[in-house]
Symmetry: C2
Subunit: 122 residues, 2 copies
């Protein structure tokens, strides 16, 4: 059998068995199960566990962050909504050509100005 049990996987990836279950519950790494329900970690999962550790320590992020990034790529509505909101910052992204930026910015403004107008009192 080319798969490790949770304790074995934990040992060689330097996580604890507890954390392996936690990572699974976070939807990050979901190993196969044996007939009796035992978790079975194959080479791919082991590698992913190692790189996950490197990822979170290198950038000092949490598993929740990684899960959110995962959600971001599976939920297009969310990705678009957040991107729009961040884009609306009064800072011009460097990778957008000036002409495109301007036209896009005008579109956006026309939509928002109707709502924003009422707020300018003193």
């Amino acid at each position: 059998m080319d798969a490790l049990t949770i304790h074995e996987a934990a040992e060689i990836t330097d996580w604890s068995p507890r954390m392996l279950r936690y990572i699974e519950r976070a939807g990050l790494i979901e190993p196969q199960r044996s007939g009796a329900g035992y978790r079975l970690y194959g080479p791919a999962e082991l590698q992913r566990l190692r790189t996950l550790r490197e990822l979170v320590t290198r950038f000092d992020i949490g598993l929740g962050e990684v899960g959110f990034a995962q959600r971001l790529r599976s939920d297009a509505d969310l990705a678009v909504a957040i991107d729009d909101w961040l884009e609306a910052k009064p800072r011009r992204p460097q990778h957008v050509p000036a002409a495109d930026w301007l036209r896009w910015e005008q579109d956006k403004h026309s939509k928002l100005l109707a709502l924003a107008g009422a707020a300018t009192h003193a």
Copy 2:
């Protein structure tokens, strides 16, 4: 003067003054300051506050998430690293026999398996 104080801005955006300060500390919306240090919210900030509220309630996310998305677009290294990790997700097609899958995995992660190889026992 075309700018609101924190209490005024809070009232019309349906946040609390406390949360406006919190949102600022989270790096999401940083209003101008008056000479004496008073926060001054202009139309752009007010609109951004409203859309922020809609964003977090619609998708049930936290300010931390929005801040993380912001970090994601300003830190290319982070974005690439997370994207790579998510891309490497092992989706094992059910119709592929185990032996083929294993070889495919080895091709894909050939250099990584050198590290993982020691683990395949049991």
